[in-house]
């Protein structure tokens, strides 16, 4: 079809009062494009008269390209009243006339495609207002969590146990593999780095202290929380954002099912219970990773490593790590749920929400860890 097509063209013939525009060739958009406004201006300049009759006797195949051309011709005539009074299209195929009529009907109001350009002050103001409303939103959500959490402890909640169990399974058991890999490797790396340094002082056995204290107090809690932020926090945000887009959240609201009890609380419960458990598991795997490396690279027996580990890691270290991981779990769940519920309704918004939840989760975990470090220092533990 496209190989033997003739190029679209036109010829202008003037007689007396008006002019005749003869259209020739095939007007197919994907083969020959659309004629531009320069063509239209030339026709109008050449015609100059009172009436322009469009003749289609030599017209081949056509599609939107022809209609677009005729519409441009007509629009520029109505924009410039000085020249041609009217365009006569009755010689066109009936279907082309119908499309032209249809196109002209909706075209009277030209759209304003350009977005209004905001000034710097406006943009700064908008950013500040948005940040403020987000802060208020976070505060409201934390408050609501506290209130509803206490209500839930008192046994007044609409949270369904089946949801909680399912979420716990997903966030807890589902994460065993990745938590093991991350913490095991962190423990092993600590042992490697420590062994090289400590051996120089003949204090190789203290690798156990290094691995034990670092894992129990910091690394297992942070590593597990970051895994949860990436794995579960992002998933929560994407899930809730998609529900938002499908009007599922609206449906819950209409039924009067509290969003918080039904969606947020089960997720917070799941992460607040599972992150500490995964932390303990992560510690164990981290110790194991450290022990393997120590036994292989240094001349330490497993028993001595274990003895030293027991002496170094006190209950306080565990308590600090355990408390932190509860706080991290709550933070990651809150960030995921909050960002998901505030997301827009398009597919891109789901992606933004997942990204934001992971970023906020990770930064929040590190920042919160710093706060914990300062507090522990002040308390002298």
């Amino acid at each position: 079809m496209s190989c033997n097509s003739r190029l679209p063209g036109w010829r202008l013939e003037r007689h007396g009062e008006g002019a005749e525009l003869r259209l020739t060739g095939d007007w197919i958009a994907r083969d020959s494009g659309v004629r531009d406004s320069a063509d239209v201006r030339r026709i109008l300049d050449e015609a100059g008269g009172l009436m322009l009759r469009v003749d289609a006797s030599e017209l081949g195949q056509w599609d939107s390209a022809l209609i677009a051309f005729l519409r441009m011709l007509r629009d520029s005539v109505s924009a410039d009243q000085t020249r041609i009074v009217r365009i006569e299209v009755s010689a066109l195929p009936k279907s082309a006339q119908r499309l032209l009529a249809l196109a002209s009907a909706g075209a009277s109001q030209a759209p304003d495609i350009k977005a209004p350009h905001a000034s710097l002050a406006t943009r700064v103001g908008e950013v500040c207002l948005r940040a403020w409303s987000r802060t208020v939103g976070v505060a409201a959500m934390v408050g609501e969590t506290a209130l509803c959490g206490t209500a839930a402890f008192a046994g007044r909640t609409r949270t369904r146990a089946v949801d909680v169990v399912e979420l716990i399974r997903e966030a807890g058991a589902g994460a065993l593999g990745i938590v093991a890999i991350v913490n095991g490797l962190v423990g092993a790396i600590l042992a490697f780095v420590g062994a090289v340094q400590l051996q120089r002082f003949g204090a190789g056995i203290y690798v156990a202290d290094l691995v034990g204290v670092a894992m129990a107090r910091e690394m297992a809690a942070i590593g597990t929380a970051i895994v949860m932020a990436g794995r579960t926090g992002g998933a929560y945000a994407a899930h809730l954002a998609t529900m938002q887009g499908n009007e599922e959240i609206d449906a819950l609201n209409v039924f009067g099912i509290p969003i918080f009890d039904f969606l947020v609380l089960p997720r917070i419960t799941a992460l607040v219970t599972m992150t500490p458990l995964l932390y303990i598991y992560g510690c164990a795997v981290g110790f194991f990773g450290g022990a393997v490396v120590s036994i292989v690279t240094l001349d330490i027996t497993p028993l001595r490593f274990l003895e030293e580990l027991r002496r170094a890691v006190t209950a306080t270290q565990f308590a600090i790590g355990f408390t932190k991981s509860i706080a991290f779990g709550a933070l990651v769940a809150l960030a995921g749920c909050f960002i998901g519920l505030r997301a827009g309704r398009s597919a891109a918004d789901v992606g933004h929400a997942a990204t934001a939840a992971v970023v906020v989760g990770i930064i929040g975990v590190i920042a919160l860890d710093a706060v914990f470090a300062v507090c522990c220092h002040a308390l002298g533990i």
Binding site: A29, G33, Q109, I113, A347, A348
Partner: protein, 264 residues
């Protein structure tokens, strides 16, 4: 489109069976669509109308049977060839399915950008044209989320028209629209299909639009899982003896009498 076309029927379905997993939705379907006609795929909810449409537009491989597009076996073609054939289709999805992260104008422009070598200006002109066909030129810069239901459908129609399709397929065009809006959409479909000279396939159970615009069709039955009647909706209403078809076609009268009975 006004272009020289092969003499074969635009769409010819022979012994088509479609299934999801092991569940057969429709079996042994045969029908052909005449060039330039507005063909209805009718039937009650859940009879597999939309599934048959999916097989026709390349979204679901039939278990057996053939679909010929202009004489060419659609599912026997290579993936690349099938994609090429599909570009002659314009599909209006039930929910509109506009890409939600793009403006209306970008939605219409995307197929043109992907599959033609037109300049940016030419694409802008064509997008403007398509949008003004459906009366949405003023909404070009809006996001899909900002549109009402009727506008959403019309924007999706403009997108379906983007590549000047030879065959237009509509899945429940009037779903979720009020009767007036849905009738205006029907008129628009009629107007555009005549203007473009396109063949139209409408999947619907809306009697008003079936009677209003379709001149041929096939009736699918959920129970027997196959076609039980062929012909235009009006002809089926007036002459078909099949009780299922009769019940479907006279549903309107039945509802009215129910409503009348309840009046004191």
């Amino acid at each position: 489109m006004i272009s020289q076309q092969s003499t074969a029927q635009p769409i010819e379905v022979r012994n088509l069976t479609v299934a999801f997993g092991g569940r057969v939705i429709q079996r042994e379907l045969s029908f052909s669509v005449r060039r330039g006609s507005i063909f209805a795929v009718m039937g009650g909810s859940g009879c597999g109308k939309s599934t048959v449409l999916k097989a026709m537009v390349g979204l679901l491989r039939p278990s057996c049977g053939t679909i010929r597009v202009n004489g060419e076996d659609y599912w026997a073609a290579s993936d690349a060839r099938r994609a090429e054939i599909s570009r002659r289709f314009g599909v209006l999805f039930q929910s509109g399915a506009l890409w939600s992260s793009m403006t209306v104008a970008e939605n219409v422009a995307l197929p043109l950008q992907m599959f033609t070598s037109l300049t940016i200006d030419a694409i802008a002109i064509l997008v403007q044209l398509k949008l003004s066909f459906v009366g949405l030129a003023p909404a070009a810069a809006k996001m899909p989320a900002e549109l009402s239901g009727g506008m959403h459908k019309r924007a999706a129609l403009a997108r379906a028209l983007a590549l000047d399709p030879e065959i237009l397929l509509f899945d429940e065009p009037s779903a979720g629209l009020d009767p007036v809006t849905s009738q205006r959409l029907d008129e628009l479909i009629l107007e555009l299909s005549e203007g473009f000279g396109a063949t139209v396939i409408v999947v619907s159970h809306e009697l008003a639009s079936l009677f209003g615009i379709c001149d041929d069709g096939v009736f699918l039955d959920a129970e027997t899982g196959t076609a039980i009647a062929h012909g235009s909706p009006r002809a089926l209403r007036d002459t078909c003896e099949n009780p299922t078809v009769r019940a479907f076609m006279e549903r309107k009268a039945l509802h009215r009498s129910l409503a009348e009975d309840r009046q004191p």
